[in-house]
């Protein structure tokens, strides 16, 4: 007879749902601090470097504060789209592939028109980017609705296909003709200003992708709380049978959720390739599509939560880089630290779903 028991709550606790992300951050700080101590660093200094210095250090802050937006922008944009599907029980794991295809199609559209200076060029590329991501997401969507394939596997496998397409166009179709045979496209920021995603206000990190991320968060919030589609998504996720009785069409839901997520991931890719990354290159994708899955769950699949989670994740990335640089921490320790964050978040979910009882159970009535 154990003294501590878990008792399932009839419904997840709202208080704990809101509190667990904070508890997870604190637990990560403690466990991470122990790890840093074992590695021979001062744990308080390490935690301060990761969470405080990127924001307030006089040496790095002015540069890394805007960088937080640059890093968080694509994460938020992708995670917002993914969360719609996750809420409905549609598991798009292949956002990385949709992100790549958005970048390839969008950048390709722009490069095809080089050296155009038309003001319509960039909007056209944005459209092409969204379309590229959308089309890539339609493959698992249609395979699922038509043939009942598993969207987790199909979307994930398509990431590898997209990576190979990226490698191929970097060293072939989209290769910079002035690049002496080296792989990689023209650099948008350096060679093709009309097609580049520049900062809207200088030194703020605020580029069009960040703006798009904020708009996506607002629209997703409205959709989920005010729109019929949002209701259908929530119903399908929480009570699939009830949803069917209520006349929610699974096919429409799958097409909508995967399509939206794909389009947003494609947009993120386009804004990244024309902005911070600057060019299509073989290693252009750096895992945003996968990290966004963590961000979506860290933000509890809620648009506002995702906004905060994206910023937090960006903070750990940039702070982690500073910890490497200033304290000589190995990169693996930083990844471990980020892994802890997700682990603790999932572990803390216990508190949201279960009540903890101390003492012996009462005799069953």
């Amino acid at each position: 007879m154990s003294l501590i028991r878990l008792e399932k709550r009839p419904a997840p606790s709202r208080l704990f749902s809101a509190l667990t992300p904070l508890m997870a951050v604190v637990a990560t700080m403690i466990a991470g601090g122990i790890m840093f101590a074992i590695l021979g660093a001062n744990p308080l200094e390490a935690i301060r470097t990761i969470f405080w210095d990127p924001l307030f250090d006089p040496q790095f802050g002015p540069y890394s504060r805007p960088q937080l937006l640059v890093k968080a922008g694509p994460l938020i944009l992708i995670a917002t789209g993914l969360a719609l599907g996750f809420r409905a029980g549609i598991w798009n794991i292949g956002a990385e592939g949709q992100y790549i295809m958005g970048a390839v199609v969008g950048a390709g559209a722009g490069l095809a028109l080089y050296p155009s200076e038309s003001p319509l060029l960039f909007p056209l590329m944005v459209l092409a980017g969204a379309l590229g991501g959308w089309a890539w997401a339609m493959i698992p969507a249609i395979l699922k609705t038509r043939f009942g394939t598993n969207e987790i596997l199909v979307s994930l496998m398509l990431v590898y296909v997209a990576e190979n397409i990226l490698a191929s166009v970097s060293s072939g179709l989209l290769r910079n003709p002035d690049g002496m045979g080296f792989p990689g496209s023209r650099n948008f920021r350096r060679d093709f200003p009309a097609a580049s995603n520049t900062e809207i206000i200088e030194n703020t990190g605020m580029h069009w992708g960040v703006v798009a991320a904020f708009i996506a968060v607002i629209l997703a919030y409205v959709l989920m709380s005010r729109h019929k589609m949002g209701f259908a998504i929530r119903l399908a996720g929480e009570a699939p049978r009830a949803a069917r009785f209520a006349g929610v069409s699974p096919t429409r839901l799958i097409i909508f959720c995967l399509g939206t997520a794909g389009a947003l991931a494609g947009l993120a890719g386009l804004f990244e390739v024309t902005g911070p990354a600057g060019q299509i290159s073989i290693d252009f994708n750096s895992g945003y599509g996968f990290t966004a899955i963590i961000v979506a769950f860290l933000g509890r699949l809620n648009p506002i939560g995702i906004l905060l989670a994206g910023l937090l994740m960006a903070l750990t990335y940039i702070g982690g880089e500073l910890a490497q640089l200033m304290l000589g921490m190995p990169a693996a320790a930083i990844q471990l630290f980020q892994g802890m964050l997700l682990f603790f978040l999932l572990a803390m979910d216990v508190f949201a779903n279960y009540r903890i009882r101390i003492g012996t159970p009462e005799v069953a009535k």
Partner: protein
């Protein structure tokens, strides 16, 4: 708004630069930073750059401080990593992978007083030098040994990316394997990675299954060596690093990148105030490319020939790309006794005659 932020940024930069100038005048150590594409423990490319960093520390002791950041992706993150390193007060920053080229140039524009050194690229600026090694010289020695060792006459080659540096290596190895073994055939697999032990092992296994009994690699992990060891009668060569833990079999020799002399020289130049933007492409002669010990698994006379070839290249008596040589499509490239010029080599995007398959694009 724009002007205000510009002014502020300018002021911040000025204050930062003034602070840095002050630090130097107080006789503080020179700070050398290194940006690595892989982990320092990769046993190959990044490992050797880090050995170079440690050699700088050893050489200058308290007069130098080094910092590094590993696993820096070659996309948007590189520019931030380099900027942060410059902000942390680095005086000279080595960016050690091709993909850091545009980010390095972009950061260098913002930090005119910091010196930048970019490995394997081609874009220079007043404060950006480029440096690379003539690995193809080592490939010639490798090809000579490989052509002699193979019994199946199939040599497997794990390519990383289809870029000039890798294509040069394939051509050089092929030319010298063919010289000693006219029946030799190259099977080339593109891994599209510099460092991914799982992918590299798969590539090695696939090549072995296709009959290759010598594996050359242009990727940085020891996974192909392990795969060859498991398969038995397969020979390999260490890449970037000596990989001597796999000697005498399967690893029979290696190409070692030795960045230490160059790094020491460049850091010294910053200390003395004599640093200038340069374009360095050194080979076996100056010691940037080393040939690891040729083991006894190689017959003695082949070993002697290989060493003679190495010495001839090092002394500048022999150029690995000496005509007559044709391109893959049969068109003439180099006439009798003609040697390739550096411009063609730097942008090499064709196979020489005899290699099968196409360069992917």
């Amino acid at each position: 708004m724009k002007t205000v932020t510009k002014l502020l940024a300018g002021a911040a930069l000025a204050v930062g630069l003034a602070g840095m100038a002050q630090a130097e005048s107080h006789g503080e150590p020179v700070k050398a930073g290194f940006i690595y594409v892989g982990p320092v423990g990769d046993g190959g490319w990044t490992y050797e750059h880090d050995q170079g960093r440690l050699a700088v520390e050893e050489e200058f002791g308290d007069m130098v401080e080094t910092v590094y950041q590993e696993n820096v992706p070659e996309g948007a993150d590189a520019e931030r990593a380099i900027t942060q390193m410059a902000l942390s007060g680095a005086d000279i920053i080595f960016t050690t992978s091709f993909g850091y080229m545009d980010p390095t140039i972009a950061v260098a524009e913002k930090f005119p007083d910091v010196k930048f050194e970019h490995a394997t690229g081609y874009k220079t600026a007043d404060n950006v030098s480029v440096y690379s090694a003539r690995f193809y010289e080592g490939r010639a020695v490798q090809g000579h040994i490989a052509g002699n060792l193979t019994e199946s006459n199939i040599i497997g080659y794990i390519g990383s990316f289809p870029i000039p540096e890798v294509i040069r290596g394939i051509n050089s190895a092929y030319i010298h394997a063919k010289k000693v073994n006219p029946d030799v055939q190259f099977k080339i697999v593109w891994a599209y990675t510099w460092f991914d032990p799982a992918k590299e092992a798969d590539a090695a296994k696939a090549l072995i299954e296709q009959g290759a009994d010598v594996i050359l690699q242009h990727t940085d992990s020891t996974a192909p060596q392990a795969a060859a060891q498991e398969a038995g009668n397969v020979y390999t060569f260490g890449q970037a690093s000596d990989m001597s833990e796999y000697a005498p079999m399967p690893r029979v020799s290696s190409i070692i990148d030795n960045w230490a002399p160059y790094y020491i020289e460049r850091v010294k130049a910053v200390m003395d105030g004599t640093w200038e933007s340069t374009n360095t492409w050194d080979g076996i002669g100056p010691g940037m490319v080393g040939i690891g010990e040729i083991t006894d698994a190689v017959p003695a006379e082949v070993k002697a020939e290989a060493e003679a070839l190495r010495d001839a290249i090092g002394a500048g008596e022999y150029h690995p790309f000496t005509g007559p040589l044709n391109k893959q499509d049969g068109s003439a490239w180099l006439g009798e006794g003609e040697t390739a010029d550096d411009g063609t080599l730097a942008g090499m995007n064709f196979y020489v005659e005899g290699i099968e398959g196409e360069i992917p694009n």
